[in-house]
């Protein structure tokens, strides 16, 4: 092996390994730059710019120059009950979607891990929610929930359970109705990840536990779950973040209505920024959302590090 490869394997090149190693590093930059520049200009840059905007009075279409206003936006935000209502709805939505999504996905993954017929059909159907544009998912479920022509109310009438209702515009039913859509839309992805995790659990252990007379639940708890836990934690954390940041589904289903009952923080910030032009204020909302997500991520990471020491 040449010095160059030895140097790059051990991380930073040791002081004595210059010479033949240098051109390699320049080559690495050449390979990285085409992706690095767009990342810096269109992702890292805007992120920092966005954080900075939160401390300004930036508005769209204003002629006078933008000024620094310190933490004024955050102070305003503190007393903005509409925002905190929306934040609470966002958390309800994120938990309400993520938890059932995980449980349902786990159930389906366990089923698909068994030698059942029709497994292929479930795998094929799982493609639909995963590949569909979110806008179409929203449109489709509006058709399902439609008070007159929708299949849900028709089924309820057929079963003699009353006349059904206008699910998406009822104050009490709107949020649960959109949560069901959220669960449906994200379930296949979670299922596939969990299924792959299940297939990595040691089969011999399973059989040994069965020989010892452990029931299905005990086998799950003592053999399956410990092996699956890291995957489960990771996928749940990601789902939570994605759900908290979700926009298109609810925008299409209810636009945040009725009376703000489904106005997720993303919809709220979108309206603030692009309907009312309050860029600075909306950026402050974004910062608060990042802060909350970071705390959750940090807690998650701590949990993971405790879970497996080698991470």
């Amino acid at each position: 092996m040449t010095l160059a490869t030895a140097g790059k394997r051990s991380g930073r090149p040791a002081p004595g390994t210059r010479g033949p190693g240098r051109p390699v590093d320049r080559g690495a930059w050449f390979l990285v730059l085409p992706a690095l520049i767009p990342i810096l200009v269109l992702s890292v840059g805007p992120l920092l710019y966005g954080i900075a905007l939160a401390f300004t009075d930036a508005q769209s279409g204003r002629t006078e120059p933008t000024q620094w206003i310190g933490t004024l936006n955050f102070q305003d935000l503190l007393y903005d009950t509409l925002f905190w209502d929306s934040f609470r709805i966002g958390l309800l939505w994120a938990v309400g979607v993520t938890v059932p999504q995980f449980l349902l996905a786990l159930g389906l993954a366990l089923l698909l891990n068994e030698e059942l017929r029709l497994r292929w059909l479930a795998r094929a159907l799982a493609i639909i929610p995963w590949a569909m544009p979110e806008v179409v998912v929203g449109i489709m479920w509006r058709l399902v929930y439609n008070p007159d022509a929708g299949i849900l109310n028709e089924t309820i009438r057929d079963l003699g359970l009353g006349d059904g209702r206008d699910w998406l515009s009822g104050l009490a039913t709107a949020l649960p109705a959109v949560i069901v859509v959220g669960i449906w839309a994200g379930m296949p992805q979670t299922t596939v990840v969990l299924l792959a995790g299940l297939q990595n659990t040691p089969r011999e252990l399973h059989e040994a536990a069965a020989m010892d007379g452990a029931g299905a639940w005990r086998r799950f708890r003592t053999v399956t779950w410990p092996a699956l836990k890291p995957v489960a934690l990771a996928v749940t954390a990601l789902n939570f973040i994605w759900n908290f940041n979700s926009f298109a589904l609810v925008y299409v289903l209810t636009s945040g209505g009725p009376g703000g009952r489904t106005r997720l923080p993303m919809l709220f910030a979108y309206e603030e920024a692009f309907r009312y032009g309050q860029f600075g204020y909306a950026a402050a909302m974004g910062c608060v959302m990042v802060a909350v997500i970071s705390v959750i991520l940090a807690l998650q990471l701590v949990g993971r590090l405790r879970g497996d020491g080698d991470a």
Binding site: S43, L53, W141, H206
Partner: protein, 277 residues
Amino acid sequence: MRTSRRARAGQYAALLAYLVFLAFPFLWLVSTAFKPPRELASLHPTWLPRDPTLDNFRQAFDEQPLLRAAANSLVAAVGAALIAVLIATPMAYVMARHRTRLAKAATGWVVVSQAFPFVLVIIPLFLVLKNLRLIDSVGGLVMVYVVWALPFALWMLVGYVRAVPAELEEAAAVDGAGRLRTLVSIIAPLLAPGIVATGLFAFISAWNEFFFALVLLKTPEKQTLPVVLTHFLGAEGVADLGPLAAAAFLATLPSLVVFALIQKRITGGMLAGAVKS
């Protein structure tokens, strides 16, 4: 392992419930797309259209510029997919093979970018693109989609690169092949299936994307398919259900077909990227 008959029956019942839950909304969408107006207005809708018709499709094309929107979507999605894999593959290679600080920072960015609320990025992006005069243009949207597709593309490709034995490259280096040469003639061909799958996934993400397109494209002629689809919804609750369903069904077909082709590879790659070496 033996499973009792009763447990088996329970499993099948559960699986059946899952199948129904997964399938019924889509079946309803398809059925609605083929129903004539009279059946859509009926207070007792049926699962299957009694007189299936293609009128909704014709009407959908009359009501909204679907072809133009599809063309815009196609340009945005193909452009984003091609550029994304072109710039992500070399970077993924460096991330997979070198443990430099840069590679670590890039991995950190891939993870952190998943947690960005888009709203914090979209306002500055809007301002930056406005200054570059790329607002309200499909070109600007392509740039945004490329960056947006990169985290996942890098994640997948790093996994694929790691699966290629490093000994192959060392052998090439011994034979005197330069870095770029090794990458192009040894690594790239081995990665080709993974690169194609990643590109197709980037295509689907861009084809389906709504939020950036909604904010960044204002001129109706430039809007992409998901944005145009929402125009069918019109004011509160007065949507014309038949054409709406027909257009939504058509807009989904490309994603479904492409996804069916790459599903196995994507699920494999997602986990390969997660494996620590």
